[in-house]
Symmetry: C2
């Protein structure tokens, strides 16, 4: 196999810059929430790119788009490359997008060089990876892995109560293809690191060994409505105050574990009635905790229970952890990691082994097939922010590593 | 004048119970936000009651409804009785409603007894007293008193950006009558206490001597969006956490003054983007502080400034008190208070002098004419809550005091 094969950096960069024009945010980034009009437009552009390069496109019932370059043996399970084209509400130009468009660039590079592969190679754009519009994030790969039903996933509502399924139909991406249930040989995902390590160390390629153990939780606070004026302090049960105590406690738990890379976030707070003249009776707080060591994460989680009891006492509200979920805490496939490591070595790139601290569709694909991730540097670690940035030079090494790792696997 | 004249308690109670059917909340109270369809329906019912009793109805440009019973000398400035028919998002059946419908009952009682008065008497239903839909509360009496222009008041938006003026037009209550600018002889407002004192002491009539000094403030918190996962704790500037620190501090300031009847409330919190996967960059917190002594309130306010600086340091956000407003801290008219006191005495009712801790349209009417308020007991002090309650027996004494105080003034 041609070990001097390289992606066309200008072509990939111009694809990413074309994407950066669709759903532009007010500060140079992107606001391309899943299944909104900008996402529809990006999907249509991607579909045109796929068609003009001669690949077949299949859209499944979750709206995930699979572009396929045929292999010499079409009956073999394909190698899959993927990520997502949706963004956060105030997101960057690279998060997810790099992975999908680098996948497309891999296919185009193979065409330009006249390289055939034994196995088919597919590139997927997963629907609603970010979860910025429909909760949970990574919902399409979740359904692909059979962890939830398609019906459940299609019924996820946004804040206005509009379902994912109805929005897919509205924008014309409710495809006919069954979700999952077919053999995939391997899954590769290239992504910006979304942390500062590679950029700080000047290392171009991150080899992702697994996912940070992560716990999410929904905390419910119940108080009682009352007038903000005459109601004596000892009679108040202000759900906003109850939730504020919890948010501060959650933040402090994260700070105590900061030296060992722990994090915790009070991320979203919904209040009712949330009006100036009336004390709120209900608050829902969504929290997120991460730590590289599962036992430390469990200890952080136990601290939340203690804090919740204390916050309830201080605010005179009822507070409970109503729901918990988790991901991460697994290892990616050693075989694929080996392919990434040797591709990096043969291309002469230094690498750093690290764990992913963010969730990715690859987390669910681990349950489907051997899976792995490659990280590219991300300027200053800034992400989920319109200022998210990388240079073309930051992008090229990891995209070439993806090319060669995929190529090696596809000829297996 | 007939000192044995009394209101028809059954008629007044049945009016209030008819109102309690319009915009019923899920838990026995009312959800009749200003200018929503239920408010429209209540206004139409009120207009029918006014017409069927033979009073003239005039609606001003702010949608405030003035029912007029003519006096022997129609050229004299009228005595005005008023309050509001709109409610909180989860409000009670009496807050505001008692005052308007007791005003109507005063007119009907005079008719039934064939009593003429020298001055006209008018009853007003003020638009958007609660401020639950359009901020600020008491916006119609604010404009009536000339403290803001009608144009400014009509442009107030609700959370969806719909203006008060367009909603008035939609429900057919954008009246032609100029707002304010005419002489009013005196203003009386009967209201439930919205605090526990009368109920606890078993005293049927509260004589309101003035308003608690009150300060409201809008606090702006600016952080930065970032991924909830990989972003190291020392790089985070979570606006939700900044606002949570402030909310806890505001609550604690209120607790420190609780023994001397001080209160403070973190009442409303708006966050952006407020999503599970991204740290919020912006928070707006609305706070409210009240204390019977103006100098203590000023000290509480100074504590906020200290707390804000501390919270900014702890959350690494920029935090500022962006806007302040105030009301209360005045005394009601001694002449009208004297009329209320002698009416209570001649009817044999015990009274308690107290200050209003909630805002009322009477606060703005102080700038227009001699004004005063009467309080009726409110079960357990529960208000801005669907469980707000009073009995018919709780209602009768204060309504009769209103009748006789108004009658005395109208014959002046």
């Amino acid at each position: 196999m041609a070990s001097n094969l390289t992606i066309d950096a200008d072509r990939l960069w111009s694809s990413i810059m074309a994407s950066a024009e669709i759903g532009k945010g007010s500060r140079g980034g992107l606001r391309r929430l899943a299944l909104e009009d900008a996402d529809k437009e990006m999907r249509e552009v991607f579909a045109r790119w796929v068609a003009s390069s001669g690949y077949t496109l299949r859209v499944d019932r979750m709206g995930s788009m699979f572009a396929r370059r045929e292999g010499r043996e079409p009956g073999l399970a394909p190698v899959l490359i993927g990520s997502h084209l949706d963004t956060q509400a105030a997101g960057g130009r690279f998060d997810g997008i790099l992975g999908v468009l680098a996948g497309l660039e891999v296919l185009r590079t193979l065409d330009a060089a006249g390289v055939e592969t034994r196995r088919p190679i597919e590139v997927v754009n997963w629907t609603n990876e970010e979860g910025a519009r429909f909760v949970p994030p990574m919902v399409a790969s979740l359904a692909f892995a059979g962890k939830e039903t398609v019906e459940w996933a299609l019924a996820r509502p946004d804040k206005e109560g509009t379902t994912l399924g109805s929005e897919l139909a509205r924008i014309g991406f409710a495809g006919p293809v069954p979700v999952g249930g077919r053999e995939i040989d391997a899954y590769f995902e290239l992504h910006i690191e979304q942390g500062p390590k590679l950029d700080a160390a000047g290392v171009p390629v991150g080899i992702v060994t697994g996912g940070f153990p992560t716990r999410g939780m929904r905390i419910e606070v119940r108080g009682e409505t009352a007038h903000v004026g005459p109601t004596p302090m000892p009679r108040r049960r202000n759900a906003l105050v109850g939730a504020a105590h919890v948010a501060v406690a959650i933040d402090e738990i994260g700070w105590r574990q900061a030296p060992s890379e722990g994090k915790s976030t009070a991320a979203r707070l919904d209040l009712s009635p949330n009006l100036p003249g009336i004390i709120s009776e209900r608050a829902t707080l969504y929290c997120d905790m991460r730590h590289p060591e599962a036992d430390v994460l469990a200890a952080m989680e136990a601290e939340v229970d203690v804090a919740v009891a204390d916050c309830a006492r201080r605010s005179r509200c009822e507070i409970e952890v109503a729901e918990k979920w988790g991901f991460g805490g697994f290892a990616f496939d050693p075989g694929l990691i080996g392919l990434i490591r040797s591709a990096s070595a043969s291309l002469g790139h230094t690498t750093m082994d690290l764990k992913s601290e963010a969730g990715h569709d690859a987390y669910h694909m681990v349950a489907v097939c051997p899976s792995a991730m490659i990280f590219a540097p991300c300027r200053g670690g800034i992400t989920h922010n319109e200022a998210e940035d990388m240079s073309k030079a930051d992008m090229v090494p990891s995209a070439n590593v993806l090319l060669h790792a995929v190529l090696a696997r596809a000829d297996r």
